[in-house]
């Protein structure tokens, strides 16, 4: 199932936190940075493309 924008943003935030954590390893950093850049671009693309869906309920609330 495709991830929602919010899930992707959370994934990106977790990825960013890794750079500030004690788990940081220089050998892995370049690859992780590359992955996060790709994810950030994907999120921007999603944000530009997604539209809201507005439906007016058919129920008659005057009765």
């Amino acid at each position: 199932m495709a991830k929602s924008i919010n899930e992707k943003i959370n994934e990106l935030k977790t990825g960013v936190e890794w750079f500030y954590s004690e788990d940081f390893k220089l050998e892995q950093a370049a690859e992780r940075y590359r992955d996060l850049t790709a994810l950030a671009k994907e999120i921007e693309h999603d944000l530009d493309g997604l539209k809201n869906e507005v439906k007016v309920i058919e129920e008659d609330f005057s009765k």
Partner: protein, 364 residues
């Protein structure tokens, strides 16, 4: 000659009521309340009057949605009737205060009563859900406020499902429609949050949002409710009862969504920060390695110096033990058979003497 119709009193009253019903299927009358009273906790009586006339009114207490007091100006929707006693009366279906003074008075009376019941208590307020995907909107789809809400929502965020319950947002009957819409969303549990929206208007226009039954429905909603009613200066009892109050319909959209432009900025700034962090970590590690190498070098030098110094001591000690050095100080070395009659060699720095031991004695 036509025969004159003779009615019993009861029939006459019934015919009059029939005529009244035909003439006024429902009538709206405005006037001032006088002699307001509630009998047995359920029957409400008052007179509606102006400078020149007065008419008695009757209604059931459950239909009374705003507090009334003598002197308040109200608008009633009613059916005119002749009572059993032959008195003309209005059977009131709905009554709302009108005019700034009456609205304010009614607002204050109801606010105090509902506040005492705890309907507006801060601890009852729920925060908006962190991730909102489905929004239930209660508004008139023709209202400018609704259009503003949709515009701002679409500018700020995408991927949301918005379900709009189209209702009246002013006038008699509007409160009941909004209550039905609240029930609709609550019964189906189909949305994460309910937004009640209405653009600006006069105090009379916004009075529907001070309807007691509606205020109770807002406070009792299982789904969190956000209100955006009127302008920033307007305050209604629905605002006090809701979980979150927005100043305007546009502000509702702002409170329900993140701004995608800001999210994009944050993403870029996050990426920039980790890029800088990555670079500085690399620099740190290079500097750390340089420091480590220098430290090792210093340790090696110190060890060499220490060993050199130790070696010099040993060499000096060895030099002191050299027999030639003792001979140079004038001492002689005696070698050979150390016994009486034994032959010995007496070695000095530059000479050797050969001798025979004549006698050996103890030294004193």
């Amino acid at each position: 000659m036509a025969v004159e119709q003779v009615y019993s009193v009861k029939d006459f009253r019934a015919v009059c009521n029939q005529i009244l019903e035909t003439a006024f299927a429902g009538v709206t009358v405005e006037g001032e309340v006088a002699s307001f009273k509630v009998n047995q906790g359920k029957y409400v009586f008052f007179d509606l009057k102006d400078d020149e006339a007065s008419v008695g009114c009757f209604m059931m207490k459950f239909a009374l949605r705003f507090p009334l007091e003598d002197g308040m100006k109200v608008r009633v929707r009613a059916l005119p009737k002749l009572t059993d006693k032959g008195r003309f009366s209005l059977t009131v279906q709905a009554v709302v205060p009108v005019g700034e003074g009456s609205l304010k008075k009614s607002f204050e009376l109801l606010r105090k009563r509902l506040a005492a019941e705890g309907l507006f208590a801060a601890e009852k307020k729920r925060p908006l859900p962190e991730q909102i995907r489905k929004i239930g909107v209660i508004s008139s789809t023709q209202a400018a406020g609704y259009a503003d809400f949709c515009k701002i929502l679409n500018e700020r965020w995408g991927g949301l499902e918005v379900f709009t319950a189209h209702t009246q947002v002013q006038g008699m009957g509007a409160a009941d429609q909004i209550i039905r819409a609240l029930d609709y969303f609550n019964e189906r549990a189909m949305v994460d949050v309910i937004a009640i929206i209405r653009g600006g208007g006069s105090a009379d226009d916004l009075a529907v949002f001070n309807d007691e039954a509606l205020v109770r429905a807002v406070a009792g909603s299982k789904i969190p409710v956000i209100t955006g009613i009127g302008h920033e200066v307007d305050e209604t009892l629905c605002d006090l009862a809701s979980d979150v109050v927005a100043s305007t319909p546009s502000n509702v959209a702002q409170l329900l969504t993140k701004d995608k432009r800001l999210v994009k900025q944050e993403l870029r700034s996050d990426m920039e920060r980790i890029k800088n962090l990555f670079n500085s970590r690399v620099d740190e590690m290079v500097a750390e390695n340089r420091g480590e190498m220098a430290k090792i070098g210093r340790e090696i030098c110190a060890r060499i110096a220490s060993e050199q110094s130790e070696l010099t001591g040993i060499v000096r000690a060895l030099a002191e033990l050299n027999p030639e050095k003792v001979l140079a100080r004038g001492y002689a070395l005696v070698k050979g058979a150390w016994r009486t009659g034994g032959e010995i060699e007496v070695v000095k720095q530059n000479e050797i003497a050969y001798a025979k031991i004549r006698e050996i004695k103890e030294r004193n």
